[in-house]
């Protein structure tokens, strides 16, 4: 009996350690990883401007940097749980007609195709980093939410209740929010 109790206590101590690793250390690490990748990307954007390919005062440079700053500062609020509850809270809210895509294409006007292409690549990389972060920052959320979400979407598409789920649209919404927060920072 005593051995059984001691084994139970040993199991509980190990579980406590796993909880600490998973809910505290892993999340802090993942956030640091996300920010580190974005810092590297922002450095690349800076070097790109420093090489003279685009001016530091150019709107496209400012817009992309603001968006990256928004992601870096508020990365801790970018888990799948945040996305889920944001979607619920934003039901019925009027979306701003000027989206990040809109601002981005406007800001890129007049740039030569090569510069435009390089900036687009930086934006795509930023989005890939953001998607990875959303999916892995709270793995329990991804495991719980994604399978039923895909199922519901698949059923909705099958019975033609809605159009196919558009990843691009959802990523743009992430960019919109990051840019809104990043833009606020620039204005502050």
């Amino acid at each position: 009996m005593n051995n059984q109790v001691l084994t139970t206590i040993a199991s509980l101590i190990s579980l406590l350690g796993i909880c600490y690793l998973f809910f505290w250390r892993y999340r802090a690490f993942e956030l640091a990883w996300f920010r580190q990748d974005l810092f590297c990307l922002r450095d690349e954007l800076f070097d790109f401007a420093a090489s003279g390919k685009i001016s530091f005062d150019h709107r496209a440079y400012g817009v992309l940097r603001s968006c990256m700053n928004g992601y870096i500062r508020y990365g801790d609020r970018l888990t799948i749980w945040h996305g889920f509850f944001f979607k619920l809270c934003a039901i019925g809210a009027k979306r701003p007609s000027v989206t990040f895509d809109h601002v981005w294409s406007h800001a890129q006007k007049g740039l030569d195709p090569e510069t435009k292409n390089e900036l687009d690549q930086l934006r795509n990389r930023m989005e890939r980093i953001a998607i990875r972060h959303v999916l892995v920052s709270a793995p329990e959320g991804t495991a719980i939410l994604l399978p039923p979400l895909f199922l519901v979407c698949a059923v909705a598409v099958a019975i033609k209740l809605r159009e196919a789920w558009n990843l691009r649209e959802n990523v743009s919404e992430l960019d919109n929010t990051a840019y809104l927060f990043g833009d606020e920072l620039a204005a502050a």
Partner: protein, 132 residues
């Protein structure tokens, strides 16, 4: 590009809703985290209770945790998790050093042209030619 009143109002609504959702998520996250801790402490309490003879180890959860194989498996998972965490955290630190090592010397050299270097490698480790 000046924003219209309606545009600013829509942005404001979205930011406020985002803040509400952040509050809800924060509460939810804390419920998951601390809920797990409460559950563990509850089982700890029950097992100590059974040690004093007040209750038995009849509970399904406690019986499961009292299994030596389960206990060892959980300990291995903790050990492997800890080691993996240490290794990846170390890798991230190296990556951060590498990022600074490339930029700081360039910027400092602009202010101090005679700036000397410790001559560590890009990851902040002893340079191979300096190794004993």
């Amino acid at each position: 590009m000046a924003k219209s009143n309606a545009e600013l109002r829509a942005e404001n609504t979205l930011l406020r809703r985002a803040n509400t959702s952040i509050g809800i998520t924060s509460i939810f996250n804390n419920l998951i985290r601390y809920g797990a801790l409460v559950l563990i402490f509850r089982y700890g309490y029950l097992s100590i209770d059974s040690l004093s003879g007040k209750t038995t180890l009849a509970s399904v959860g406690i019986n499961f945790l009292a299994n030596i194989t389960v206990s060892q498996a959980v300990a291995y998972i903790l050990g492997a998790g800890g080691l993996t965490y240490g290794a990846v955290e170390h890798g991230l630190r190296k990556k951060t050093i590498k990022r600074f090592k490339n930029r700081i010397p360039k910027l400092e050299a602009k202010i101090d042209s005679g700036r000397t270097s410790s001559r560590l490698n890009a990851k902040g480790e002893t340079h191979p030619r300096d190794q004993a």
